[in-house]
Amino acid sequence: MRLRYAIYAVPVIFLTLFLLYPLAMILRSGLAGGFPAFTDRFILSVIWFTCWQAVLSTGLTLLAGLPAAYVLARYRFPGRSALYALATAPFVMPVVVVAAGFVALLGRNGIVNDALAGIFGAAAPQIDVLNTLGVVLLAHVFYNLSVVVRLVGGLWSVLDPRLEEAAAVLGASRRATLRRVTLPLLAPAIGAAALLVFLFTFGSFGVVLLLGGPRLATIEVEIYRQTAQALRLDVASALALVQLCATLAAAAVYDRLQRRSTVALRLRPAGASARPPETCRAWLLVGGCMLLVLLLMAPLPALALRSLTSLTPGVEGMTLEYYRMLGENRRGSLFFVPPLAALANSLLFAGAATLLALLVGIPAAYALTGNAVRSVAIAHTRRRVSGRQIARVILGGIIILPVGVSAIVLGLGYIVAFGPPGWLRSPLLIPVAHALLALPLVVRSLTPALQAIDPRIREAARVLGAGPARIIMRVDLPLVAPALLVAGLFAFTVSLGDFGAALLLARPEYPTIPVVIARLLGQPGAANYGQALALGTILMGVTLAAFLVIEWVQPRSISTP
């Protein structure tokens, strides 16, 4: 029947045209002439730097994240859930917001330097950490702390504490218990978290480009520079292939690790092993962890605060001036449109990307949920679908692919593939790219919900005379509505926050918010600085709202690994 083909055809056609074809063109362009550049010390040094900064970032994130995961998993104290939300919120924050936050906190005109000047007067020591490796590492820890807290903390909170107690009774010291009992039990989660953090920081783009300054370049940043500045698409493509292979390999290892980590442990319900801190040492640990998370998250409130503070010398106090300026289009300004128009562009692109992601994601989720397809199909035709299994495996593989394809690589792919037919002019390429980047998240939100539908409901509907389309509209969709909402919001936030693809694909007259913020941050003067922070605050607010709705709709799936 036709519906069944459509379920496969829509995602396959979309993914072939907008993912596989651009990747094939990257492969062609890279193989055609990019790789000889790799004998260059320059390119090799970029690859080397990418690796060791990722290792360093992973180590630091674990160092900060493991104690936080322990405290959040094992102690009950006032403000625990707020602390948890605070530690996990950064993950959805757009990179330009984070960069603007760090600039607002630690930059030359930042809050910290202002405070120093306030305390010590004019001769105050100026800290200037922007454009150093230190601030890049800090931003990486800021971003990925939530990965460790979610994965490791999730497992830690359900581990049976009696194992540790038994070790203690048998005479093991605290350290020995940790080393011989707890850590081995947590090892799969720690390994998975470390691998994910490595994966994310290996592909770090915005943080390094915006905060790292001209000295630092990861592979992603170099792909951007080779594309936009040096115009050597072949070298950029070759680098993209390296990036692609590395991330796909890491993703494969992660998948393996996830499968093996499902060891039969006697788990306790989450929270059952949490107790209030009683000893002085426990309180110290909880307090220290709170302080760490609060300090680490300081860039976000700093951003909002700074965007409301007047930066003009001689004018003190709070002001809405920079928000007002967003609506103006000064002649001779950097943009074709007032910055606020970028907000409209961004919302428009995000809306279109959400729709596209759902239009492709829903059939894809159906196709991957064999159960659902079959029960719709069988309920209707009572015939077996042949070759379904193979098609599902292939589709599943392709749908996971965007996880390993970064926004920059996708942007480069569109330039290489769609430049010659002249499609780059179309503003629709941006929502298409965003929909692709969001697709894995959308499908992952929808499949469990579809799988959970009891096939007997569909059969009942069928018996009562409903056609397949009617079954989908009246039975399935209402039942998966919460998952649909979550999937849509994921797509919306991915699109809203994307920096890489928009940077390469946005036309000068259709800038998105992240592109405008990045350009404002690169310019001198209080007005540009203030506007960048104001726009960053708006983007932070919208993202935070979406994040809170997601948390509210699916409260349980967050705390389990």
Binding site: D40, R41, F42, S45, R108, G213, P214, R215, R225, A228, Q229, A230, L231, R232, R331, G332, L334, F336, L347, L348, F349, G351, A352, T354, L355, L356, L358, I415, G419, P420, P421, G422, W423, L424, R425, S426, P427, L428, P431, D454, I457, A460, L464, P478, L479, V480, A481, P482, L484, L485, G488, R507, P508, E509, R519, G522, Q523, P524, G525, V553
Partner: protein
């Protein structure tokens, strides 16, 4: 039966159904809008809301392009056209955007290819030749493209500016040669721009290559190695270098030496609006690079005839005389009168470096990468 399962299974989800459908409808609406926007775009360069029947000319350029309102208004009135300026990043990025979108050009005219990028622009074949009658009055040594796909509009000298007050306070004599900058007296005092992202940065790199050469006992690489040892600061762009890090500008940064233009001291007097009688900054006269900026008609322009009129206009006396105080470079038209501050304070460097565009094109990326390796890694 039907109502029973509904109650049982859909009950929990019902409160989301409304929201979800609301979102779907909203998203559909925005999608439709975006599609309409897209459809409107397929015809040619951007067409923001305008009076019906009015023609539109799109000029793609870099972020530093500037022109007086009334000068532009004259052209718009004469040709009954509305001109849209499309700033597209730094000079290199703007040109690359134009090259990448050559199969569906974003604009009719491109302004801002300089002689360091001339060969790339010409090799990409994105410009139509146009022998403007106004070219007759332009000196031949500025016309680097004989087939006139790109015509010269302005030129300037990239050199090092120093902050007079800073030097006087420290009893330092201004540097005379580029080689002086590697001395201990100038440690930690110079800010330059990244040649990959900034056209004055690239021009200054060219000046050092022309000054020190590629072979010999002391090459440009040795010079930059010494500069690095002397704690040179690299900024992404001119704006950042000049207004954030340079002490002689209104930004009052910490460093008294900056790579800028020979006309910047005159600009400081002009922008002080009467507060300054003499320039607060001076030029290092040796080791400069002559930068010429070009404009051309893009292939596939929607308004090629208007684009040619715009090239004529940029070469006209009206536009040429507007250049100095808007972009602080020299007009290519020898008859154009220079403003008073230029006559009094702008110094023309004695012996500006010249490197053939073909040689730059052959070596540019290699030089930039070598430079990055030496100075930044």
């Amino acid at each position: 039966m039907r109502t029973r399962w509904r109650r049982r299974f859909a009950g929990g989800a019902r409160r989301y159904v409304h929201t979800a459908w609301g979102i779907v409808v909203m998203v559909l609406a925005t999608m439709l809008l975006a599609a309409c926007g897209g459809a409107a775009q397929t015809g040619g360069p951007p067409t923001p809301a305008s009076a019906p029947g009015e023609r539109r000319l799109v000029v793609m350029t870099h972020d530093s392009f500037a022109v007086s309102e009334d000068v532009m208004a004259d052209f718009e009135r004469e040709q009954s056209v509305s001109v849209e300026v499309l700033p597209s990043g730094d000079a290199g990025s703007a040109l690359n955007k134009a090259i990448l979108s050559k199969d569906a050009p974003l604009a009719d005219v491109f302004f801002g290819v300089d002689n360091t990028f001339l060969s790339r622009a010409l090799n990409a074949e994105i410009f139509e030749p146009y022998q403007s009658p106004a070219l007759a009055a332009i000196p031949d040594d500025l016309k680097l493209d004989p087939s006139a796909r790109l015509v010269p509009i302005d030129f300037g000298y990239v050199t090092i500016n120093y902050d007079r007050a800073f030097l006087e306070a420290r009893n330092l004599a201004p540097p005379q040669q580029l080689a002086d900058l590697t001395g201990p007296a100038w440690k930690g005092l110079l800010v330059v721009e990244h040649p990959a992202t900034s056209s004055p940065g690239l021009a200054f790199l060219m000046a050092t290559i022309a000054t020190f050469g590629e072979d010999g006992s002391y090459t440009w690489r040795d010079f930059w190695r010494d500069l690095r040892a002397n704690d040179v600061l690299v900024a992404e762009g001119w704006n950042d270098a000049y207004y954030t890090h340079f002490s002689g500008s209104s930004g009052q940064g910490p460093r008294p030496l900056v790579v800028s233009y020979a006309t910047s001291p005159a600009a400081e007097v002009f922008f002080s609006e009467g507060k300054l009688e003499t320039p607060p900054t001076g030029n290092l006269m040796a080791g400069s690079f002559k930068q010429i900026e070009f404009a051309g008609v893009l292939k596939g322009a929607r308004e090629p005839e208007l684009a040619r009129r715009f090239i004529d206009f940029m070469l006209s006396r009206r536009f040429q005389e507007d250049i100095p105080l808007q972009m602080f470079v020299y007009p290519v038209l020898p008859d154009a009168a220079l403003p008073d501050v230029f006559v009094r304070f702008a110094q023309v460097p004695s012996d500006p470096a010249i490197i053939a565009p073909e040689r730059i094109e052959r070596n540019r990326e290699r030089w930039i990468e070598e430079w990055t390796q030496i100075v930044l890694r």
